[in-house]
């Protein structure tokens, strides 16, 4: 399965980051790709609880909504949630977001993994093996020539 991993170092203690990630008030401050505002943020941060975020993307002035269920909650270390688009884009099915917080000297190291990503067309046609191809495609582009590993991850580090 294709996944995306991002790592951030944040100058704030894990509990503050954890609240920012899980509470409706926190989510309303950051969810979305650009400076477009969050229009609706709802969150019930307990296992089985749901969240829903509606935001405006400035780039195309279009409203998008994503929602899902909290699958694991371990304050202030770990949150796992299901994630699904609603509106704005064709439904590519459910994927998984995993956020892990680690204490570091400057505050918190946040590791974000969005996995089980599928593209719309492939999830409709249930073609087997294509998602592995995405991983390989990525390895192919990264390595220039070799296409080998079945599970290379998209990794980028920030801060």
């Amino acid at each position: 399965m294709t996944s995306l991993t991002l790592v951030r170092r944040i100058r704030a203690r894990p509990q503050i980051v954890f609240d920012a990630v899980t509470t409706a008030e926190g989510i309303a401050h950051w969810w979305g790709p650009d400076a477009g505002p969050v229009l609706v943020a709802e969150s019930d941060p307990r296992v089985g609880g749901r969240y829903r975020v509606r935001f405006l993307r400035m780039l195309d002035s279009t409203e998008y909504e994503s929602s899902g269920e909290f699958l694991e909650i371990v304050p202030p270390e770990r949150v796992v949630m299901s994630w699904r688009w609603k509106g704005g884009v064709p439904d590519p099915g459910e994927s998984r977001v995993e956020i892990t917080l680690k204490t570091v000297p400057e505050g918190t190291e946040l590791t974000f993994v969005h996995s089980q990503l599928r593209d719309e067309e492939a999830s409709r046609s249930h073609e087997e093996g294509w998602s592995g191809a995405l991983d390989k495609l990525e390895a192919y582009l990264a390595a220039g020539t070799k296409v080998v590993g079945p599970t290379s991850h998209h990794q980028s580090e920030g801060r």
Binding site: L4, R8, W30, G32, P33, L110, F112, E121, L141, V147
Partner: protein, 117 residues
């Protein structure tokens, strides 16, 4: 005109097969190769290689040009770029979100310290 979703699916389908990926990898290392040159490293027969090339050509990943009796195969990077673009959409989304999460959490931390917590 083929829409981008179909193109994307075709690219992925073409890339699923290890022989086809190996063919692409060969083409990456040189500027154009004949079909017999491409078939050399494989244990499969020429017609099988031709079939793989058909799939790759249909996905737009290679082009074939004939000069006399030789067919030269070349890599075409555009479909790969489109497939990467799809993945990057997610990266842009989350990267922007996490930047904002970072500044928000840092301002909350500063606030908590001001209040002596």
């Amino acid at each position: 005109m083929v829409n981008s979703q179909e193109r994307l699916a075709r690219t992925f389908m073409a890339l699923v097969d290890p022989t086809r990926r190996a063919i692409l990898a060969q083409l990456e290392r040189r500027d154009g190769a004949s079909i017999s040159e491409l078939a050399k490293p494989f244990t499969i027969r020429l017609p099988a290689v031709m079939k793989h090339l058909d799939v790759l050509a249909k996905a737009g990943l290679v082009t074939r040009s004939k000069s006399g009796r030789t067919v030269t195969v070349r890599l075409r990077a555009q479909p790969m770029r489109e497939a990467m673009e799809w993945l990057r959409r997610y990266e842009r989304f989350w990267s922007g979100s996490l930047d904002r999460l970072t500044s928000y959490a840092e301002s909350k931390e500063a606030e908590a310290r001001r209040k002596g917590r």
